[in-house]
């Protein structure tokens, strides 16, 4: 269990000077994840903000081997890396590595879902990390299946009407041994989940909530606060599913009002107008139902002892 920064096992693998926006939640999460990931390591990255901001040729921010092939196929490309190193090790021509896939919500919930499903079903040993900033940021903030109801995006000018896809349930339905949610404010929870994921022999999944100042129209110094509020409002519960057993890692007994989380994000400006009360109500209901379902699945009703994971 990692409880102090100096216990993080690995050296920095992503260098400063990349092109991400100030306060980019994805980059903070990625840095934390890489500090906790066991070595030797290979990173496979889907097309998206992370790929673009870290590799403007002739520069690279990556100090670990890194591969980007395309948008929808990161899980497949990583499957190839994994399969190849397995056989090369057998033949004395290489060695197995730990493999992390980073993909945005678009590269996971939408266009990447098929190749993700294939990789999970085939059982490759890799950790698939979805950094969820709730829209296609790289192409200018278009809606994805991860965009929540009521959120503005450049393709949902009146606020998205549909619900957020439950990617965790989809992943869990594949029978993976370990899937968890995390977000940078709760860094101990995040790094320990990364370390734990690599103890399993097979595919594992991490759904990381990654605030995006550019796409959410928030101040760049609010990223960590948003990461915290997302959990404290029950909007983004921290939980894990280990061999099918659900566990809420941070039990939010008394949630903060959702508005506290929404009002500092200008993408919700329209949603918070009185004429959109009904849509706001739907979002609140979705949040509540998500929590209730988790309570039922985990059979947890009160704060368990694991709250010490909180920083």
């Amino acid at each position: 269990m990692i409880t102090r920064l100096d216990q993080l096992p690995a050296k920095e693998a992503i260098s400063p000077g990349h092109n991400a926006c100030a306060g980019c939640g994805a980059l903070i999460a990625v840095r934390q994840i890489l500090l906790a990931a066991p070595r030797p390591l290979i990173v496979v990255n889907a097309t998206g903000c992370l790929e673009v901001v870290t590799t403007p040729y002739p520069y690279t921010a990556w100090n670990v081997p890194w591969l980007h092939v395309a948008f929808e196929n990161a899980a497949a490309a990583a499957s190839g890396v994994e399969a190849a190193l397995k056989v090369l090790e057998r033949k004395g021509l290489g060695r197995r590595h730990n493999i992390i896939v980073f993909a945005g919500d678009g590269g996971t919930f939408d266009i990447g879902l098929q190749s993700l499903s294939g990789a999970l079903e085939r059982g490759h040993r890799l950790l698939f990390v979805c950094y969820d900033n709730e829209a296609y940021m790289n192409t200018g903030v278009q809606r994805s299946a991860a965009t929540p109801p009521g959120a503005w995006s450049s393709t949902t000018p009146a606020g998205k009407q549909e619900t957020k896809k439950d990617i965790m349930s989809i992943v869990v339905a594949h029978g993976v041994k370990y899937a968890a949610t995390a977000t940078p404010f709760f860094w101990k929870d995040l790094v320990n989940k990364v370390a734990k994921a690599f103890t399993f022999d097979g595919p594992t999944f991490l759904h990381v909530y990654a605030p995006c100042p550019r796409g959410w129209y928030t101040e760049s110094d609010k990223t960590i606060q948003l990461s915290k509020l997302a959990v404290e409002t029950r909007y983004f519960p921290l939980y894990e599913v280990e061999n099918g057993r659900y566990k809420i890692n941070y039990f939010v007994a008394r949630p903060k009002p959702l508005e506290e989380f929404l009002k500092i994000q200008n993408r919700y400006r329209t949603l918070l107008r009185p004429e959109n009360a009904e849509l706001l109500q739907r979002l609140k209901q979705e949040v509540e139902e998500r929590w209730k379902r988790l309570e039922a699945l985990s059979q947890q009703r009160e704060a368990p002892s694991s709250t010490h994971l909180v920083s």
């Binding site: 081997p65 591969l67 497949a76 499957s79 190839g80 056989v87 190749s115």
Partner: protein
């Protein structure tokens, strides 16, 4: 010293699978589609029985098949995939990435018509849609060549002067499912022919960034380099074709009979056997391209110089273009060489449409007549429909 080559009865597809086994391939990722399927079935048999020590990745689509191959290839592994038609079309995006990342992948394509209307039989519309993807394109006319070209494909792809993916094309059914005696090298000789050459790869101790973002300043430099690599791979292909251990005389990238006939037929794939058979009897020249990309212009040109009429066979349309794919290449070549030889652009055998001996014979007769009368003109038609001589 080459040991006694063994002779097996094999289909074109089996010959390819056998070559993949002899090449000691590390990763096979493929998705079934007619008429390629039996390649994948054979290879899963070889891997599960231990005849081939490889990881067989049973992907959920062709898009993922090629993506697996790209990832695997960049670890330094020797990889293989195979597809046809719709599968190749689904791979389209990744074809360009495989060549752009200089991944020495070998893929077999059992050429088949593209939908719609859906049709499972042979023609070249699938590969012609990918001809600009930056792959080396070989065309095998029979199961023996399917075996030989697959092995040679690895030697070419992994050559440090090349580092590009190679496709081995076989006509759907007429070659992929045709049984013949095939001489094989066997594992030991095949691996002596295919030594593993070190190349940059994904490894923690020597971190590299592969697939970075390129600005206009740098993009064109890489793409020009890549185009030049494909162009100059011609010499490597010829070198490898010549030194292939199973054939004393090696292979030519362009195979020609009756070089000095007034009519020269040019084409690709299994149907060239039919034309060669007739060409020998009727004294018509027949040039078969075994290598299509890079285009072996200098090797083909001498057999076109003397001709009074050139008949180009295409098994694909290029709708709206001035000419179908191969005819466009030939016309460009003639123009570059300052020749004004008339060209009959003949599209034939679409969707497995049979090219009967009688049809081919009639075509050659008319072409000979036209050449004799000095009445050659640039015309185009579908074989089997009226030959519209002006």
């Amino acid at each position: 010293m080459l040991r006694q080559a063994l002779l097996y009865l094999m289909s074109g597809n089996e010959a390819i699978a056998h070559a993949v086994m002899d090449a000691d391939v590390d990763v096979v990722a493929a998705y079934p589609i007619t008429p390629q399927t039996t390649i994948v079935e054979k290879l899963s048999e070889y891997t599960s029985s231990g005849m081939l020590d490889a990881e067989f990745v049973p992907v959920e689509s062709e898009h993922s098949a090629l993506s697996v191959c790209v990832g695997a290839s960049l670890t330094g592994a020797r990889v293989f995939t195979a597809t046809s038609s719709q599968g190749l079309a689904l791979m389209h995006e990744i074809l360009y990435i495989a060549s752009g990342l200089r991944a020495p992948i070998v893929m077999a394509i059992a050429n088949r018509a593209l939908s719609a209307p859906i049709n499972i039989h042979g023609d070249h519309s699938d590969v012609m849609g990918s001809r600009d993807a930056g792959w080396i394109q070989l065309f095998a006319e029979n199961p023996q060549q399917a075996y030989d070209f697959t092995l040679m494909a690895y030697r070419v792809a992994e050559d440090n002067r090349v580092m590009l993916p190679v496709a081995v094309n076989v006509d759907g059914f007429t070659v992929s499912h045709c049984y013949e005696g095939v001489r094989v090298l066997g594992k030991e000789d095949a691996q002596a022919f295919l030594p593993r050459t070190p190349r940059p790869r994904l490894e923690y101790d020597t971190p590299i960034t592969v697939g970075a973002m390129f600005s206009p300043t740098h993009y064109h430099v890489v793409k020009t380099e890549q185009a030049k690599a494909l162009e100059s791979s011609l010499n490597v292909v010829k070198e490898v074709f010549r030194s292939y251990p199973l054939r004393e005389e090696g292979y030519d990238v362009v195979h020609v009979v009756n070089r000095s006939s007034p009519v020269m037929v040019v084409g690709l794939g299994g149907v060239m056997g039919t034309f060669r058979h007739l060409g020998r009897r009727m004294n018509v020249g027949v040039a078969s391209l075994r290598l299509y990309r890079p285009f072996p212009a200098a090797d083909l040109l001498p057999s076109l110089r003397e001709a009074e009429l050139i008949v180009v066979l295409d098994r694909a349309y290029s709708p709206g273009a001035p000419a179908p794919p191969l005819a466009t290449d030939i016309k460009t070549l003639l123009h570059t060489a300052g020749l004004q030889t008339p060209v009959w652009s003949v599209v034939c055998g679409l969707g497995g449409h049979e090219i009967r001996l009688s049809m081919a014979e009639k075509l050659l007769q008319k072409a000979l007549e036209a050449a004799r009368e000095g009445a050659g003109a640039n015309i185009s038609f579908y074989l089997g429909e009226e030959v519209n001589r002006p």
